[in-house]
């Protein structure tokens, strides 16, 4: 197991280093720091101010090779900073990126964690229900509803939710965020509801397929033959056996709880990590964008390793070798 873990981690590290190289080429070679400086400082900025800005951000060094100090290049700086998590300052307003990330984690988690914790059981319960009544009208209508729900774009859910629930029914504030404990629930409620509705369709359909496949297996027939009730069959036999695809789906989501929900955060004005990415794109803030892509890659690799480990826990037949 230790050797497997080592090998997986090495592959993951190689992937992340490759992503970093790609980021460097994209943000230092293709898009030049001079252009970023011009955007940050405005058209009227005199050359001295631009030079000062480049120096302050370390963008005045040679890109790949510095004969005098081989390690004093932008490439070396880029790797050193990313690998030591010393992210530096935003290109747009010089705020330390680490500080911005710290402030963004809370709002993101306060939406994504409830979304995950409510969404998964809700999808599983609905899927079990639909699979349980398979081939009845509940199953057919359920599947049609799921397909319909999947086909509607997230944006429609957001705008319709804001209009119907926020504006016409006045249940919740239509957007905004405040970490104050007395009001935070009001702000999270609507994006949560919208997120659940938008996500539940595809998940129910997927889990239903898994469950339906499992219920056709021999062990289910055996269990029934031994006199187990319908409810017991679904909960005690089908659910654990369907764990592998469920885990693949669910464990992979956990690391991304930290990166936030990009669309929900931007439209509901939640100052989380997802909207940091959008803001960084809009403001040409490449320093922040690089960090977000890098963190995304790290979390993806971590998620994959975690999923593999989770398999062994769910199914003794799977071994890490």
């Amino acid at each position: 197991v230790a050797r497997w873990l080592l090998r997986r981690t090495a592959w993951g590290a190689a992937t992340v280093l490759g992503v970093l190289l790609f980021l460097f080429l994209l943000f230092f070679v293709y898009a030049k720091p001079q252009d970023v400086a011009r955007r940050a400082l405005g058209e009227k900025a005199p050359p001295e101010v631009i030079a000062q800005w480049l120096a302050n951000h370390g963008y005045d060094k040679p890109a790949f090779w510095n004969p005098a100090h081989p390690l004093d290049t932008m490439l070396a700086d880029h790797y050193r900073r990313m690998l030591t998590f010393d992210f530096g300052k935003s290109d747009a307003d010089d705020v330390p990126i680490a500080k911005r990330l710290r402030h963004g984690v809370g709002p993101s988690l306060s939406l994504t964690v409830p979304l995950f914790l409510l969404g998964l059981p809700l999808a599983l319960a609905l899927a079990l229900g639909v699979a349980f009544f398979r081939d009845s009208y509940i199953d057919r209508v359920g599947v049609v509803a799921c397909v319909l729900a999947m086909s509607v774009s997230m944006l429609i859910y957001i705008l319709a939710g804001q209009y119907l629930i926020g504006r016409l029914l006045r249940w919740f504030p239509i957007s905004g965020f405040d970490p104050d404990p007395s009001v935070i629930a009001r702000f999270v409620a609507l994006p949560l509801l919208v997120g659940l509705l938008a996500g539940v369709g595809s998940e129910v359909r997927f889990y239903r397929a898994v469950f339906v496949e499992e219920t056709g297996r021999d062990y289910v027939r055996t269990a029934r033959a031994k006199g187990a009730g319908d409810g017991r069959v679904m909960a005690r036999h089908v659910l654990p056996n369907a764990a592998i695809p469920i885990l693949t789906n669910a464990v992979m989501e956990i690391p991304f709880l930290f990166t936030g929900a990009i669309l929900l955060e931007s439209f509901f004005g939640i100052p989380g990590l997802g909207s940091i990415t959008v803001d960084a794109i809009n403001a040409n803030d490449f320093a922040t964008l690089r960090v977000m892509v890098y963190l995304g890659a790290l979390l993806f690799v971590a998620g994959q390793i975690a999923t593999d480990v989770a398999y062994t826990l769910a199914d003794p037949r799977v071994r890490l070798e």
Partner: protein, 667 residues
């Protein structure tokens, strides 16, 4: 199924919380709620130049002079200074202004003042703080955008150069504390401090408009301790992210990505000494005509400020912000284009909005938008002589600014007759520019006289080809410019849109390779000089990089400009302005389009709100009635709950038959 029911119940329970975005404890507080569309770029008063920056800054920092809140034309009043100084002529054409500072003014208490180790967290404002702020403008590391203006202060630019040289040449100088650096590179000849509460500013040449700059945040006094302490190192914020001023409010919370809050500054001199009845700390008793009828004088003579807090929330999109305003959660709002017809009828408030007790505040901004001709162009410019002039006159007669306003900005603006907008000395409400009334007949005649009958260029036998140059490639921009192009096409002219990137457009402008363009100017300060200088030859864009993008150069105009620019607002000045207006009327370097008008909706509970186009501390004059607000909010926001019950019922009704048949089968 049970889980589904549980989560539905949860949703219904949560629904009973309602849509109030603010903590219940704040419901009865004197808080002003306003949205902000973009966060400030910087809170460094010497650097900040955008509307968003100044909205916050002008209420936290203070300046030596301020504008009268109500009077129009704008009028300077003393702020931190005891009075508006008069210029004193010195030898060699120099001019001095002596500012006497109000005594007993303190900076808001802040950790940075503990710098010198005596433990005190605040201190008194002295003249050297004002000088320090002005010296920062010249500091190249600060990067202030207004050094050109303040270089008129004797020796200020040289100070900045000495500072830069010392930082470069002397090891360890750049690591010195900022006040020590400035002391070593100083003093500045034109900034004298005869006593700790007086500052004498010496200019190399007369420039009366300098006083207006002393009402802008650029000149706000800044404590050196704040600049030294807030250096962005070791977990401290950068100076651009904090505000240590003397103003009526202080920054309570600065979360640029969602919420900015100001709270009443208990150390403000106006709050500590209402008995001083200082001009900038007392609600004015006189206003412009009509202000009394609009209830703007009901707080006359009362000490400022009225509000305890100002809460700003980020609203990037206009529609949600407007919806929250309609729900009573913002106290004032701009009107999104999509909702304009819902809110405004025939220039006034729509009956639906009026029935909610709202008011509509309209105010023309001190700004002008125009179409300009490049006057050094051989076809449309001065080299074409009389032909060019008649062509410009004809093209001016073809543009209907009123129609443009109706089509593109819901009529929010007034057609411009000259560069000078209302509220500025020299604006004449009765003046009608004879070339700014759409008159196609006359335009065609002039075009024929110019040698382009029916718009046809006799040399090529085809319609005269002109180019409309712009650095705006957006769809909205294209639609706007097409409006002008279509209008000229009615004269038979063939104007082509040349939309390039902003950088390419800039380089075309630098090289003089452009013909017609669309441009605007917003006043820095309320003086006609700030508009008329846009056409002075010395300001030529192509020759000197100045803001005279039309490259207009007329010796008579320039002579008149030199006469009026440094004059008091007297009859001679008005006469000069009229003469300049006549030159512009005939020469047509510009086709004046409009002065934009701000429409703001204001709830009944917000008092003392008068829009201003300049960076003015406005929140200290405003007040809210929290009781009325709370009552209206709860009346307007009763949640509609039945759809939740109906949905739950429908789901149960849907699942029940299936459940029943399963039970039957089991038995």
């Amino acid at each position: 199924m049970r889980r589904l029911a549980a989560s539905l119940l949860l949703a219904i329970a949560a629904a009973s919380c309602g849509n109030d975005p603010y903590p219940d404890a704040d419901a009865s507080a004197r808080i002003l709620y306003v949205p902000f569309q973009e966060p400030p770029k910087t809170l460094d008063p010497q650097v900040a130049y955008s509307v968003y920056d100044h909205e916050i800054l002008s209420n936290v920092y203070e300046t030596l002079l301020e504008y009268h809140y109500l009077k129009r034309p704008y009028q300077l009043i003393p702020g931190l200074a005891l009075e508006v100084p008069k210029p004193r002529a010195l030898a060699g054409g120099r001019v001095a202004y002596r500012f006497e500072l109000r005594r007993g003014v303190r900076f808001a208490s802040d950790a940075c003042f503990a710098f010198d180790g005596d433990g005190a967290t605040q201190r008194e404002l002295v003249a050297s703080d004002v000088a320090f702020g002005l010296m920062r403008i010249a500091d190249p590391k600060v990067g202030s955008p207004v050094i050109e203006t303040f270089a008129r202060i004797a020796g200020l630019r040289a100070f900045g150069e000495r500072l830069a040289k010392l930082r470069e040449s002397e090891a360890g100088f750049a690591a010195l504390r900022i006040d020590e650096q400035y002391a070593r590179a100083g003093p500045v000849e034109g900034l004298r401090i005869p006593d700790p509460h007086a500052l004498e500013v010496v200019l190399d040449a007369p420039y009366p408009q300098i006083l207006y700059w002393f009402a802008m945040p650029f000149t706000a006094p800044v404590p050196w301790e704040a600049v030294a302490w807030y250096d962005g190192r070791e977990g401290r914020d950068a100076f651009a992210e904090v505000a240590v001023g003397t103003g009526p409010f202080r920054l309570a919370r600065y979360d640029k990505r969602s919420r900015i809050a100001l709270e009443r500054n208990p150390d403000w001199y106006g709050s500590r000494h209402p008995e001083w009845e200082a001009p900038a700390a007392t609600y004015p008793s006189e206003g412009a005509t009509g202000d009394a009828e609009r209830g703007l004088l009901s707080a006359a003579g009362r000490p400022l400020p009225f509000l305890d807090r100002v809460e700003l929330r980020l609203e990037k999109e206009q529609i949600p912000a407007f919806t929250k305003f309609l729900q009573g959660y913002y106290d004032r709002s701009r009107i999104p284009k999509e909702s304009f017809d819902q809110a405004v009828r025939e220039g006034g408030l729509s009956p639906a909005m009026a029935s909610l007790g709202m008011r509509l505040e309209r105010s023309v901004q001190p700004a002008v938008y125009y179409l300009g001709f490049n006057m050094i162009d051989p076809v449309v410019g001065r080299p074409a002589g009389e032909r060019g002039r008649k062509l410009r006159q004809a093209m001016s007669l073809a543009i209907d600014a009123g129609e443009f306003l109706r089509v593109f900005v819901n009529g929010r603006g007034i057609p411009a007759q000259s560069p000078i907008p209302p509220g500025i000395f020299g604006y004449d409400d009765d003046y009608r520019n004879p070339y700014r009334l759409p008159d196609l007949e006359r335009a065609r005649r002039l075009l024929a006289e110019a040698g382009y009958p029916g718009g046809v260029d006799p040399e090529s036998g085809a319609p005269l080809h002109l180019s409309f140059d712009t650095g705006d490639t957006s769809v909205q921009g294209r639609l706007r410019y097409q409006f002008f192009i279509d209008a000229w096409q009615r004269l038979g002219l063939d104007v082509q849109l040349a939309a390039t990137t902003y950088n390419q457009f800039q380089s075309k402008v630098r090289n003089g390779a452009y013909q017609i363009f669309f441009w605007g100017w917003v006043a820095d300060y309320p003086d006609p000089e700030n508009f008329l200088f846009l056409l002075a030859a010395e300001m030529s864009q192509t020759h000197s990089g100045g803001p005279n993008t039309a490259n207009f150069a007329d010796p008579d105009y320039d002579a008149l400009f030199r006469q009026i620019k440094d004059r008091e607002n007297d009859a001679r000045r008005l006469e000069g302005i009229r003469a300049m207006r006549e030159i512009l009327e005939r020469e047509r370097p510009w086709i004046e389009l409009f002065h934009p008008e701000d429409y703001a909706l204001v709830h009944a509970w917000l008092h003392g709100m008068k829009p201003s186009g300049l960076a003015v501390p406005v929140w200290k004059y405003q007040d809210v009635d929290p009781a009325l607000r709370a009552a209206e909010r709860s009346a307007w926001n009763r949640p509609v709950r039945w759809p939740a019950y109906a949905l739950a019922g429908a789901l149960i009704a849907f699942a029940l038959p299936g459940f029943r048949s399963w039970r039957r089968e089991r038995q």
